[in-house]
């Protein structure tokens, strides 16, 4: 498997909307390489024709009736927002 370099880390950080400083990029590069190195042994196992496990519950899509019910109130939804007015959460400009 390819070793992860700093550019890979910056790319993954961009994908996961995570701001990292240069020191963190280097730390994460070393850590991820160390961890992923230990996982190479998985490639030794024959998994031909094996189905992947999503979760061990053996329960699959359960549908419910489309029934109206009480949602969270506007106050409840807004109570934790860092910036808001009476009806909306306020965000920074999206477009320049």
């Amino acid at each position: 498997m390819t070793e992860i370099n700093k550019e890979n880390i910056r790319h993954i950080a961009r994908l996961s909307y995570l701001h990292l400083n240069e020191k963190e990029v280097e730390l994460m590069q070393n850590d991820l390489n160390d961890i992923l190195d230990k996982f190479q042994k998985l490639s030794k196992i024959d998994t031909e024709n094996i189905h992947p496990t999503g979760h061990p519950s053996d329960v699959f899509s359960k549908m419910r009736e489309d029934q109206e019910s009480e949602p969270l109130s506007k106050e409840d939804v807004l109570q934790n927002a860092p910036k808001k007015n009476e009806s909306f959460i306020i965000v920074k400009p999206v477009l320049d």
């Binding site: 909307y17 850590d31 094996i50 992947p52 496990t53 969270l72 939804v77 860092p82 920074k92």
Partner: protein, 470 residues
């Protein structure tokens, strides 16, 4: 005692709160005490008890791991990114406990977002093991385990994704159980690895574990992986003889580097169980060796998706250093998450990304199927499988914090259980240099009653008790 009127819930709750607040600065196990809520609940519980309408948990002081949502009570997951977050709803387990009128006394400290094995990754500072203040309590439910061990509550709730109830239970000399995946609703549990997470009890005796599970386990429409348990009482087999029960001893779990004291305690425990008539036989579970790699691909992958909701917009940490919306999210997350959380988000994103998904994530999911099947085949023959809970006892604070992979090795015995969705308990079984060791009893899917049966029997014949230093 409550039913007999020897002590009221108000008196009991006040006693526990007083002790908890007094010793908490030394061990840092509780993030916030919920005194007002607790005393109000205790008064109501006393009325219920007087009216003879009480349930088993009525009036009993409990601590809750701070990744379980409690309505109108701050819930932080020990992360800066959820600083000040007040859930507008209760987790289903909380709803169930409140229905039984248990008394919620506080929210316990944890590794941030339940990611860790030592409770050193908390934005509120580390928790110290009440049995030895220079040692970690284990993690991620270290606060819950420590609070039970130190007498800050009668029992606590924790969550277990790779061993996060069982390992700290072992390190702190208490009992901790993870039920069969699906038996306890995850609604309201701050999600980490959704296919692995389960909420469970930490307590001072096995019978309490069963009682707590009876209360918190329920089918829940709001959790798509929720199951109705095929039995009513988790403790129904308590007191039944273990004579004739077949117990598998997997050689792969006596890992390289296991501490001699842990090994000796384990072997002694097996001898005790054999004397009681259990039939022990060595088995081989060769795929368990790959469970750590499978876990550290699947759990971070799921975490990277689950934690994408923390954007600094709807709740939690919001940076003041950004000029546009995208930068705002980048920086809020960068400032709000600790190193271990970032590490796992990055790892998870990497294994899910184009070009790597098949080799890592899909491969891990397939190996997961094989591990599950290997356990299923073993349980065709055996009633339970028993291993040490961890290869070592509680280690020093700061000893492993800079070596992520060394930290991950703590969970090598507990992780396979979450991969396969099985029930398992950790129960104290000895001392190694005055620190407790743990016996790990694993059952087949839905075999929670048998796990509790064997644990209760072992508890009766062994009587391991360790006193806290505070």
């Amino acid at each position: 005692m409550l039913d007999q009127g020897i002590i009221s819930s108000v008196e009991l709750t006040q006693e526990f709160l007083n002790r908890s607040k007094k010793i908490n600065p030394e061990i840092n196990s509780v993030i916030s005490h919920t005194e007002e809520h607790a005393m109000k609940s205790a008064k109501e519980a006393d009325i219920t008890i007087k009216d003879k309408k009480s349930k088993l948990l009525t009036g009993i002081p409990v601590m809750i791991k701070d990744n379980i949502s409690t309505k109108n009570i701050e819930t932080t997951a020990a992360s800066k990114i959820l600083n000040g977050y007040i859930p507008p709803y209760n987790a289903t387990v909380i709803k169930n406990l409140l229905n039984d009128k248990a008394i919620i006394c506080g929210k316990t400290n944890l590794d941030e977002f339940a990611m860790g094995s030592s409770t050193e990754n908390s934005s509120f500072g580390p928790v110290k093991n009440p049995l030895d203040l220079s040692k970690v309590p284990g993690g991620s439910s270290g606060g819950s385990a420590a609070s039970v061990a130190a007498g800050q509550c009668v029992f606590a709730l924790g969550s277990d994704t790779g061993g996060s109830i069982r390992q700290p239970a072992s390190f702190c000399g208490v009992i901790g159980m993870k039920p069969t995946y699906g038996l306890v609703s995850r609604f309201g549990l701050i999600a980490f690895g959704s296919s692995l997470d389960q909420i469970g009890p930490l307590s001072r005796n096995v019978e309490d574990c069963a009682r707590i599970l009876n209360s918190i386990s329920s089918f829940d429409e709001k959790d798509l992986t929720s199951l109705t348990r095929p039995f009513n009482n988790f403790g129904a087999k308590i007191g039944e003889s273990i004579k004739g029960l077949k117990i598998g001893i997997p050689k792969e779990y006596l890992v390289e580097g296991i501490e001699p004291g842990v090994r000796i305690a384990y072997e002694n425990s097996l001898k005790e169980l054999e004397k009681s008539g259990a039939i022990l036989e060595e088995i081989s579970l060769p795929l368990s060796e790959y469970a750590l790699a499978v876990y550290y691909i699947i759990a971070p992958a799921e975490a990277s998706s689950n934690l994408s909701r923390y954007d600094g917009i709807k709740y939690g940490n919001s940076t003041d250093k950004a000029i546009n919306s995208i930068e705002h999210t980048f920086r809020s997350r960068g400032e709000g998450f600790g190193d271990e959380v970032k590490r796992r988000i990055l790892l998870g994103t990497y294994v899910l990304s184009a070009g790597y998904y098949d080799a890592y994530y899909l491969k891990a999911q397939k190996v997961r199927t094989l591990i599950r099947e290997e356990f299923q085949k073993a349980f065709d023959k055996f009633d339970a499988i028993i291993t040490p809970t961890t290869p070592n006892v509680a280690f020093n604070l700061n000893e492993k914090i800079n070596s992520p992979y060394q930290m991950y090795l703590n969970d090598v015995c507990t992780i396979p259980v979450n991969i396969a969705g099985l029930p398992a308990i950790s129960i104290p079984n000895g001392l190694d240099n005055n620190l407790p060791t743990g016996l790990h009893i694993i059952g087949p899917r839905m075999g929670d009653q048998t796990v509790i049966q064997i644990a209760h029997h072992y508890e009766k014949i062994s009587q391991w008790k360790v006193k806290p230093k505070i």
